[in-house]
Homo-oligomer: 274 residues x 2
């Protein structure tokens, strides 16, 4: 059964310094050999925007410099690249996640479904919904989600139902609760989970956000394969076996997807709190 | 804000000895003062049935001796009682969970939705779906689920959407993975979670099941309020504040239910693996 190497890049951008951030990321992974590389949320620009205007000043179309940077990086490293960036589309602004497969012409863009805190004042809520990127060359199916999507079991579950072997989660996490939940996402779905977080702090208008680093890679049994330290930039690497996630059995009579009973799950799609 | 006392009863029945088990449970909780008492799955009969005939021999209608026992117990302790038992209904057999509110005439019965391992050969899959029991006297909304329901994020999520403050989970758990997942159920739903597990072993046809005890009560932030030891019978007690779970905000801009986006969750109710 084929194994792949995944690299999770813990990188702390400097706010607003895009070119510098791209150069620093390039240098950080220059010695990394991996089949998949996951970078943090909004890794090209920094995170703590104070207004839509600030986002608009740095957000990019799919022809932008960051997108081109990750396309070149993917080709050079012969790796799938997953990375968060600010996206502009006809006046709308998204907290997006790029998925670049080197052999595929078009980079795919996931737009963050669940916005956290002041993102609601700076971005539009994502309109792509969840989807899985199938890389036939490496034989892996990658389901992107971004940061706060973690808190909703629906995110990883939908990705799993759509065939994901690996949940790739660019993040800028400022709480610790995710450490208690990400292993659950792996166990309940029998998928790998890779969280690329950033470290450091950003201060705007007297409010400081402290990013918690500790980027992690979990196997499909919820075991932590690798975990970064809380501070600083680093790359953690693990070997994964994507095909192991595809048969969801865990004893001769139980299978975590076949045992689902959707006829009793209607409230999940029908109940909406005002 | 009103607080309630919840007692989780870790009790290991002797297989097939119903009267003895009822007496032992009565003695075990005789000194317990609580507003809510949760007993394990199939706590009146034991767990490891080898056939439907074996279940049929001990399963009860709502007029049965175990149901009556728990009704009397609820009245005597002035407590809501949640307890697992084998239920018979016109030839069908369910791994059920009784919810007795002392002031309410009718005991409610939840029938386990997701059957584990050889339960599939001995029980019918539950047909009640998930529901929440509202106890207006104690001001608490209890959502019952049973054991293997834990592995499906849909179970606790549906109960939360239906208004549960507390997930009460009678169990006979034989793996350890639930320790990594139950705190996630609390966090992602902002609800209390109480797991009444059993300990001990049962052997049938040369196959031994080892039950893992370690019954636990988690608060709505995923913190372990109390945890029992892995072995033996015991009662753990904690104070909970059900009303704290009803406002799902966790910062001025985020709310774990209002932030849901059901329009992107369709696969949860439409995808069924063959």
């Amino acid at each position: 059964m084929r194994s792949l190497t995944i690299a999770v890049v813990q990188f702390s951008p400097r706010f607003g310094r895009k070119e510098e951030n791209l150069h620093r990321m390039e240098a950080l992974v220059s010695g990394t050999r991996a089949d998949i590389m996951v970078f943090p949320e909004l890794c090209t620009t920094g995170y703590f925007f104070a207004s839509r205007d600030e986002v608009a000043a740095v957000a990019e179309k799919p022809s932008g410099v960051s997108v081109e940077f990750f396309r070149v990086l993917a080709k050079r490293h012969d790796a799938v690249v997953v990375a968060g960036l600010a996206e502009a589309d006809q006046g709308r602004l998204f907290n997006s996640c790029l998925v670049v497969v080197p052999e595929q012409e078009k980079a795919l863009v996931y737009r963050k479904t669940h916005l956290f805190y002041k993102e609601k004042q700076c971005f539009d809520a994502g309109d792509t919904g969840f989807f899985v990127v199938h890389d036939a060359v490496r034989d892996v199916r990658i389901g992107p989600m971004v940061c706060y999507d973690w808190r909703f079991p629906e995110s990883a579950r939908v990705l799993t139902l759509l065939g994901a072997d690996l949940i790739a989660c660019p993040a800028n996490l400022v709480t610790e609760a995710w450490h208690l939940v990400m292993p659950a996402r792996a166990i309940e779905n029998k998928v790998y989970v890779a969280v690329a977080n950033r470290a450091g702090t950003e201060t705007r208008a007297g409010e400081e956000l402290v990013f918690k680093g500790s980027s992690a890679i979990y196997d499909w049994s919820g075991r932590t394969l690798r975990q970064a330290r809380p501070h600083g930039d680093t790359v953690i690497v693990a070997e994964i076996h994507p095909a192991e996630t595809r048969d969801k059995f865990f004893n001769p009579l139980n299978d975590v997807l076949r045992d689902r009973r959707p006829e009793f799950y209607a409230p999940l799609t029908t109940i909406r709190k005002p």
